[in-house]
């Protein structure tokens, strides 16, 4: 069994976040999530349990995907095994299991693809490493396609842009189609489709939570900041990850959005039908399920008659929104075309800052020495603002406007090279805690470096999964659980609120 060394914070020399471990073959083979029971499979259109002729069905599914996805076909053909990606996956860096090297993870699928879809694999399987789809191979698929957080870090470094996320999505889709789904993701998709959000919060509970927040903010600031639910005719529909309604530090971010809307003088609402920004359909590679979830947001926007669509802080949700929403649920010709559709809350806040409409009291965050964790799906699967790379600059600009002390982590661990938190891609479930902890190691080491060098105390992130994952693993690496903060929590702390609603126009031209 591989032992990942605990960083000893009292020692002088800090480990390199990207230190390459020795190979420990098979050390994570036993790490696998719970298999979905029939009750979680069927509502998504998948067989309840492993079908009898699963080999045959799996190959049929591969043939289908090969015709529907160019990425699948090109990525399986093009790899030359150059090895550029082998040291890029945080799960490999944290475990040393060679099957967590991106190319080796792809090869789990590629070996079967070659056996059935290539000349060499059909007649000379030993030559090109082709294999039949045996039970052993299926087990490997189930283990190792659930040790990929689909963060796309490997795709940055591949000379052909091969994205292992596409392969692990395809692998999961094939497994779903033969009845071997993952409980965590599929149960959650079922909840969104039946109730409207990942947590299964009914409208009543949502309403109570939002009313509670209104009272809390009023008490704290003396300003009546609203948290409206299902308000027809509002300007903006806010779609946030449902963790924003109950988890820490997520809620603090939600309060931040509400304060920004208040200052902007816009009307806004949350929908109890299309509450959820997260879209786990992406994790399981299911276009159909991803589309169903996206269509709820379209329907919510139509029913409430809003003019704009703004998304809260969530990584994969923003990828699904920015990159896929228009495809899955567009065209959004009924919304106000003067604004980006959809718009990210950070873009919204940043635009107000540029227009001089927000004032911040940085001293409120004086106790915080901050760094920023780029969430992988935002960094490598989407954009903020008008310029490529805006996804890196805009959140940093917001954080620097709200806090005097900001220090980036080492350059090869941020921005397009950012490291996954270790819990993305449908891995944020308790039975996978070992791989989650080990996968977080490179990020934790990078954080340790700025903690030592610059006395950094807190790390901001703009992703619900990152926040939940870090809350859990930070203490395992000797950090405070509350060291992880929302970007809009920093905004919330520092924003100067006008007493009177809609008075924001008068605050233009502040000293900020």
């Amino acid at each position: 069994m591989a032992q990942v060394k605990e960083p000893d914070r009292s020692e002088g020399e800090l480990p390199d976040p990207l230190e390459i471990p020795d190979l420990v073959p098979g050390c994570m083979a036993a790490s696998k999530p719970y298999v979905a029971a029939p009750e979680f499979q069927k509502p998504l259109g998948f067989p309840g349990e492993l079908v009898e002729n699963w080999q045959e069905k799996a190959i049929e599914k591969m043939a289908e995907l090969r015709g529907k996805y160019r990425s699948f076909r090109v990525f399986l053909d093009a790899c030359v095994k150059c090895g550029a990606c082998t040291d890029k996956c945080h799960y490999f860096l944290g475990t040393g299991d060679p099957k967590n090297m991106p190319v080796a993870r792809q090869d789990l699928l590629r070996q079967v693809y070659r056996r059935h879809f290539t000349l060499a694999g059909k007649y000379l399987p030993w030559l090109v490493g082709a294999r039949d789809l045996t039970e052993e191979v299926l087990d490997d698929w189930y283990s190792y396609f659930h040790q990929c957080s689909q963060c796309r870090r490997c795709s940055v470094y591949c000379p052909y842009g091969i994205d292992t996320a596409e392969i692990s999505m395809a692998g999961r889709e094939i497994m779903d189609s033969i009845g071997k789904g993952q409980k965590y993701s599929n149960e959650i998709i079922g909840k969104v489709l039946s109730i409207g959000n990942n947590l299964g919060l009914p409208k009543k509970a949502l309403k109570a939570t939002l009313e509670g927040l209104e009272e809390e903010v009023l008490e704290e600031t003396g300003v009546p900041v609203k948290f409206p639910l299902d308000e027809k005719g509002a300007d903006i529909l806010l779609v946030a990850p449902s963790a924003d309604y109950f988890a820490e530090p997520h809620v603090a971010g939600l309060i931040g959005y509400a304060k920004v809307f208040h200052q902007a003088g816009v009307t806004w609402t949350i929908s109890s039908y299309g509450t959820e920004a997260a879209n786990f359909g992406m994790f399981i590679g299911s276009y159909e399920n991803m589309r169903e979830i996206a269509l709820r947001i379209r329907k919510a926007a139509l029913d409430l008659g809003v003019k704009r669509l703004v998304f809260g802080e969530c990584g994969h949700a923003w990828r699904a929104a920015y990159s896929f929403l228009n495809t899955l649920a567009g065209p959004f010709d009924f919304l106000d075309q003067r604004y980006p559709i959809p718009q990210h809350i950070c873009e919204f806040t940043y635009d107000l800052m540029q227009a001089g409409k927000l004032k911040f009291d940085k001293s409120k965050n004086e106790h915080i020495r901050l760094t920023f964790h780029d969430s992988c799906n935002i960094a490598r699967g989407s954009r903020l603002g008008n310029m490529p790379g805006g996804q890196f600059e805009i959140p940093r600009a917001i954080l620097k406007a709200t806090c005097n002390h900001f220090h980036d982590m080492p350059a090869d661990t941020i921005k397009e090279g950012t490291l996954c938190c270790g819990g993305g891609g449908g891995l944020l479930t308790d039975e996978l805690i070992e791989i989650r902890k080990k996968g977080a190691q490179p990020r934790m080491r990078a954080l340790q470096q700025v903690a030592e060098e610059h006395g950094v105390t807190h790390m901001a992130a703009m992703c619900a999964i990152c926040k939940a994952q870090f809350s859990k693993v930070l203490p395992m690496y000797g950090f405070d659980m509350e060291a992880i903060v929302s970007v809009h929590q920093m905004v919330s702390n520092a924003i100067v609120l006008d007493r009177v609603e809609g008075a924001s126009q008068e605050s233009e031209g502040g000293e900020e």
Binding site: K68, S71, K81, M101, A120
Partner: protein, 243 residues
């Protein structure tokens, strides 16, 4: 007899290479990419994407970010191979184009660089445990094949020289369907046999990375999903009857 065999071999190899590659490209082109998945930050315009692909093809930009050793060996091999191929045009053209004559000396040295790059890549397959783990027999054989081609070529240039004038008339002959005898030098025959083998293997192997790069959605897509709706034909069919 030998002439007939090699002439037919090269007709076959050229047919497999162009036909096979054409078929692959047609397959890639007609397979839809249903979602926008460029690895970001990505260009927001088509010309930006062309420039990104240019940097990938000419400079191996992503590989450079990934690993300097693989980049060095890989880039030297490919650049040298290009020069060597261009240099070889002199055996297929009459009169020789001026620029082909001009690059001859560089092409000769490139032969050494090419083999050196290949040896570096092969050494990594043995010496780096991660790369040893991911290497299949075909990965080793492919390098052996290329080194065989480069090595036999260098051998002809510096040790066992062949009748290059006769060879040129052989190739001009098969190009104009007016066959001329091939020189019966063993090194030359090995060299040409390996080249033909490479041409035949190309469309069925990882050598598809060459056309593949141009069809890779993470590299060839424009980052504009909010501005333009991207929809595959099979996905459009799902929309029937939607609100």
């Amino acid at each position: 007899m030998l002439t007939v065999a090699y002439a037919l071999l090269f007709y076959a190899a050229a047919a497999v290479l162009t036909g096979g590659l054409g078929f692959r490209i047609w397959e890639y082109a007609r397979t839809p990419a249903p979602l926008k998945i460029p690895t970001t930050p990505a260009p927001t315009t088509r010309s930006g994407v062309a420039f990104r692909l240019f940097r990938e093809v000419v400079l191996f930009e992503s590989l450079f970010k990934a690993n300097k050793w693989i980049w060095l060996f890989g880039w030297v091999f490919h650049a040298a191979l290009l020069l060597v191929l261009l240099r070889h045009l002199r055996y297929f053209t009459h009169p020789i184009w001026e620029w082909v004559a001009l690059i001859q000396p560089f092409g000769v040295y490139a032969g050494f660089a090419m083999v050196a790059g290949l040896l570096g890549l092969w050494a990594r397959r043995f010496l780096v445990p991660r790369i040893r783990y991911i290497s299949a027999p075909s990965d080793h054989l492919m390098l052996a094949l290329l080194i065989g081609i480069g090595g036999s070529g260098l051998l002809m240039k510096y040790v066992a020289r062949t009748d290059i004038v006769a060879l040129k008339s052989f190739f001009l002959g098969i190009m104009t369907f007016n066959w001329q005898p091939i020189p019966a030098d063993p090194v030359l025959l090995i060299h040409l046999g390996l080249v033909a083998a490479l041409m035949i293997i190309f469309p069925f192997s990882k050598l598809l990375h060459a056309p593949g790069l141009f069809f890779s959605p993470t590299r060839n897509q424009v980052d504009n999903p909010r501005e333009r709706r991207h929809l595959a034909n099979w996905a459009r069919e799902l929309e029937a009857g939607r609100s």
